[in-house]
Amino acid sequence: MRESTTAPSPLPELSLLQVHRLVKRFGALTATDEASFDVRAGETHALIGPNGAGKTTLIHQVSGALAPDAGGIFFDGEDVTGLSMPHRVHEGLVRSFQITSIYRRFTVLDNVVLAVLARRPDAPSWWRAARADEAAHADAEAMLALVGLGAMADRVAGGLAHGEQRQLELALALAAKPRLLLLDEPMAGMGPDESARMVDLLLALKAQRLTLLLVEHDMDAVFRLADRVSVLVSGRVIATGTPDEIRRDAAVKQAYLGDEDLDAEAA
């Protein structure tokens, strides 16, 4: 259970998401250790950190898959710390998964139609035929066209190539009409070509001023996409800033990159 939630101090710029002194312990391990950061409306914010830094645990708490032990999560000024995952989705806080989570046995189109139907605010009808729901199908087809899977609509999702499944994963998240989209390693397991296509896709979303919170290992992608970067080390956010600031930050270099040169990696 959460211990206490003190209201976060007001921030100069309008932040859509505020994570305030979040704590999550697993036994003796403190996976999230008073982590705080904020995501401003319209920005692409990257969350980076070495393996085991607690990125996934933090993302699970923000999306509602895990309950924090202490601290608060505020979305658009509202405390969502106690809300379930579907509740947060209806508020506009939507996530994608690092390990592709799709309906493998259903067609690509039906995958997205299901996401559209799940996102509807009212209780699902138990009488009208879902197949005859033209609005849902039109929405789904638009989403597929957006991620470049328009031609794959009638294929079975489990039969798609890995990169295409990642695109479908993104389409499902977009179908949930996010105001803030949490992307958990969208490039996971992708080859260079697939990765480049995903970066282009995310750039297109960014151009539409969709707020993105991006967890990613691919530093090249992070520095191309992010407006701001937060660095997570041992469950703590040790620095937040523009990509340039993060590149120059001595503490980040020390803790996260060791001897590696960040500029060289980003180049």
Partner: protein, 353 residues
């Protein structure tokens, strides 16, 4: 409006959207409607009762299939709802209420309330815990019925006369009339379940069977969807119980025994979990085999078990799955779509990993 043909071009039937069978279904219902007349003509009128029994269990199995097959929730206590429906009719008859217009809706309402409570508790668990909790609740009702001495306890409660359908020119005491009423109710249940399964609610129910986390992550209220299906299944199971009480002229605790729940599960798996015709087909084949084999040997359950084994091994999607092979082509995937109700625990765990 968008291009309406874009929807028509889609494969209308697949794993998610289920068809009743088109023209065949009408032929099947006409044949079923003519059955009592045929049996009378052949001097086999007794079998009308057997056919009625099949229809009743078809309703019960179809209702279980909604949660077991389409929802992927292995409920091991469905007989409780059938039994509660039966007892509602029996207790009302004992109190002098014999009108079907009152007793039958009540026989749906009582198990619906029970399902609402049982579902609210058991649907918070998954996998083997869900199986055990639903089983425990059913056994609880079974022992409650055993302990009700005022209503016959272990011996059960006789239902001296069938319900009356005042206002309709139907006398349920006549076996053929009762059969036709059961047939009409079966048709209504079948049509209703078909609608439900193909509705947004039914799609989300099936989606949660496939990948619960994905439903939640796109805003779907998995619990509400599954709970609704659980309550509907309970109510429809209660209707089957009401008919069974009328057919047997007796309600007994045995109706709620775990073996009865198991029998309903066998029917669903035999017929095809997650297939519209699965429940009815399974009920028909199971009861006909029981009828045939028990005439040959008292060890009929052994033969039935062997047949079940063959079906599970060679037709993992049940008898309905066999029929389906000759029907519309389903979209094929590189991965095998063999196992119908995927383990909830595995899909949940995978997405959280």
């Amino acid at each position: 409006m968008n291009d309406p043909t874009s929807i028509l071009r889609r494969p209308r039937h697949g794993l998610l959207n289920h068809r009743a069978g088109g023209a065949w279904i009408w032929a099947a219902f006409i044949a079923m409607g003519a059955l009592p007349l045929l049996l009378q003509a052949l001097g086999l009128a007794f079998y009308t009762v057997v056919a009625t029994r099949i229809l009743i269990f078809a309703i019960a199995a179809a209702s279980l299939n909604l949660i077991l097959g389409f929802g992927g929730l292995v409920s091991f206590g469905h007989a409780a709802f059938v039994g509660l429906g039966a007892y509602t009719v029996g207790v009302l008859a004992d109190a002098g209420v014999v009108s079907a217009w009152i007793a039958w809706p009540a026989a749906m309402a009582v198990p619906a309330v029970a399902a609402a409570v049982i579902g609210a508790i058991s649907l918070r668990t998954r996998g083997v815990y869900f199986i055990m909790i639903t089983l425990a609740f059913a056994q609880m009702f079974h022992y409650l019925a055993v302990s009700l001495k005022a209503y016959g306890g272990d011996d059960g409660l006789p239902v001296p006369a069938r319900s009356t359908l005042t206002g309709l020119p139907v006398n349920l005491a006549d076996d053929a009339s009762f059969y036709w009423v059961a047939l009409v109710l079966f048709a209504l249940v079948f049509a209703g379940l078909r609608r439900l399964v193909n509705s947004p609610l039914g799609w989300l129910l099936q989606a949660a069977r496939e990948n619960e986390t994905r439903v939640a992550a796109t805003g779907g209220r998995v619990f509400a969807v599954q709970w609704t299906a659980f309550v509907v299944a309970g109510a429809v199971g209660g209707l089957a119980g009401a008919l069974l009480a009328n057919l047997n002229g007796l309600v007994s605790p045995h109706l709620m025994h775990w073996s009865q729940s198991g029998q309903l599960m066998v029917m669903v798996i035999l017929g095809g979990a997650g297939a519209l015709w699965g429940g009815p087909l399974g009920a028909a084949v199971f009861l006909l085999l029981e009828e045939l084999l028990s005439g040959v040997t008292i060890h009929w359950q052994f033969a039935l078990g062997a047949i079940l084994l063959v079906v599970v091994l060679f037709a993992p999607r049940g008898l309905a799955g066999l029929f389906d092979r000759f029907g519309t082509r389903r979209p094929t995937a590189s991965t095998s779509p063999a196992s119908a109700p995927t383990s909830k625990a595995s899909s949940k765990g995978a997405a959280h990993a």
